[in-house]
């Protein structure tokens, strides 16, 4: 149990294609985490390159990366404190930030 005191749920992390280069080409990664913040901690441990693509070196999420819990943006689920339930799918997607470049 990686997070004593909290029930860690089996979560599927869906990795969108632009990010698969950072995790050996995997489209899905299975992790156990009770909430979104813990999921990022677990990714930092198990998938450091993928984590660095999601968060900068201060630990802040990058501006142009979005996390969705099932079909809802993380902001609609309480942000990084959003609790996760077994079977949840956390999808990592780049933001629609085109135009300037």
């Amino acid at each position: 149990m990686p997070f004593p005191g909290s029930p860690a749920a089996d979560i599927t992390v869906a990795v969108s294609s632009p990010l698969r280069d950072f995790c050996g080409g995997e489209a899905e990664i299975r992790v156990r985490a009770p909430d979104l913040r813990a999921l990022l901690v677990e990714l930092e441990r198990s998938q450091p390159r993928l984590h660095r693509a999601i968060c900068d070196e201060t630990g802040r999420m990058r501006r142009h990366v979005n996390l969705f819990i099932n079909e809802l943006h993380m902001s609609e689920r309480g942000g990084l404190d959003a609790t996760l339930a077994p079977g949840d799918v956390v999808t990592i997607l780049p933001a629609v930030s085109g135009g300037k470049t």
Binding site: P18, L19, F22, R52, A53, I54, D56, E57, T58, G59, R60, R62, H64, V65, P94, A95, S97, T101
Partner: protein
């Protein structure tokens, strides 16, 4: 292996490599590498038995990478890690603006945004922040220019290390990079209430010369009638003091400055209008001085005579080291030009690349 002329071209949409024989007849192009991701700095490193090409790949979505090629730009892979601030530093890497070779074979330096300096002793696989400038007491007072708050120029001269920061000014280390002090006497700043401040100038680029120790040329942020001539400067005392050499130029605003590889008195700039940052009057030209900035001549044979409004960015002009060298510049409109015979005769090598950020050249 027969040496070839290698051009490494960083663009808004990835890195391109162009290669030609030493006669520079026809350049073949490959790329983009790091496709779709902006490259702000590149280095053709010819110190080892086989050349390496480095490039920063600055992904606005997912962060930075340093790419390296050991086959003259036929393929690239990521180094083990890019520069990164320590977690407790509080700063996050926003861009890599400069990659320069260090003294030892695998030494590399990287200038980054927010303005800081990193050093690698293993060819870019690991990096350490250079605290002497990155954590300088002035760092919190530096302000970003339009391109961001970047450390963009790194010059080594024995134990001396010069860095250019926009907008921080010129800083000089005389102890191999352990400590730095502002060294901006004579460098003006038109938007500062103090015209000649201790630091805070918007230095655009600095160049030195191996045959003239202590001599440096600078393209500073000029173009303001309140302080005419502050844009193009020269130092003869290792960058401790600077004087204007802008007289005779159509504008003292510009970004790159390049020195002739075999003649320290010959220097090249690309004047731009200060407000629009495009070619004066729509008529581009590289301007050359053959007397250390005493006078200037426009070199424009083969370049458009009118209706040309591109910008040439700080690292987008380079010169090779043949006995009769060629200049190269890339434009924000995606054209790459070669100026043969030291810029006497210009030809367009490529006309529709993505906007060009940087150009480096070497025989490899």
């Amino acid at each position: 292996m027969t040496e070839r002329m290698i051009l490494s071209i960083g663009t808004k949409k990835g890195l391109f490599v162009a290669e030609a024989s030493r006669t520079r007849g026809r350049f073949s192009l490959r790329g983009p590498f790091g496709s779709g991701v902006a490259v702000y700095s590149t280095l053709v490193d010819v110190r080892g038995a086989s050349a390496r090409i480095y490039a920063s790949s600055c992904n606005a979505f997912f962060g930075m990478k340093v790419l390296v090629s050991t086959d003259r730009g036929k393929s690239f892979k990521e180094t083990k890690s890019p520069p990164a601030f320590p977690k407790d530093d509080g700063r996050a890497l926003a861009n890599i603006w400069s990659l320069e070779a260090g003294a030892a074979k695998k030494d590399l330096w990287a200038g980054v945004e927010p303005a800081a300096l990193f050093h690698s002793d293993d060819g870019g696989d690991s990096w350490e922040k250079v605290a002497g400038i990155s954590d300088h007491e002035h760092a919190s007072k530096w302000k970003p220019g339009a391109g961001g708050m970047c450390l963009h120029t790194i010059l080594r001269d024995g134990k001396r290390v010069h860095v250019g920061i926009s907008t921080g000014g010129h800083y000089l280390s005389e102890d191999g990079g352990l400590s730095f002090a502002p060294s901006n006497e004579g460098i003006g700043s038109a938007w500062n209430p103090v015209s000649y401040p201790e630091f805070g100038q918007c230095v655009h680029k600095i160049v030195g010369h191996k045959d003239a120790p202590g001599r440096f040329y600078m393209q500073n942020h000029g173009g303001d009638p309140k302080l005419p001539g502050i844009g193009v400067l020269r130092s003869d005392d290792h960058g401790r003091s600077w004087r204007s050499i802008a007289k005779g130029l159509p504008s003292d605003f510009g970004f790159p400055i390049v020195a002739h590889p075999h003649d320290p008195d010959t220097v090249y700039v690309m004047p731009l209008e200060g407000v629009t940052r495009t070619c004066p009057g729509g008529s581009p030209g590289v301007w050359r001085s053959e007397n250390g900035g005493g006078s200037w001549k426009k070199l424009a044979r083969g370049l458009p005579k009118k209706e040309s409004f591109f910008t040439v960015l700080r690292d987008a002009m380079a010169i090779d080291d043949l006995s009769s060298p060629a200049l190269y510049f890339g434009t924000t409109t995606g054209q790459l030009w070669i100026g043969r015979d030291g810029g006497e005769k210009w030809e367009r090598l490529f006309e529709s690349l993505p906007p060009i950020n940087c150009v480096k050249v070497a025989q490899a």
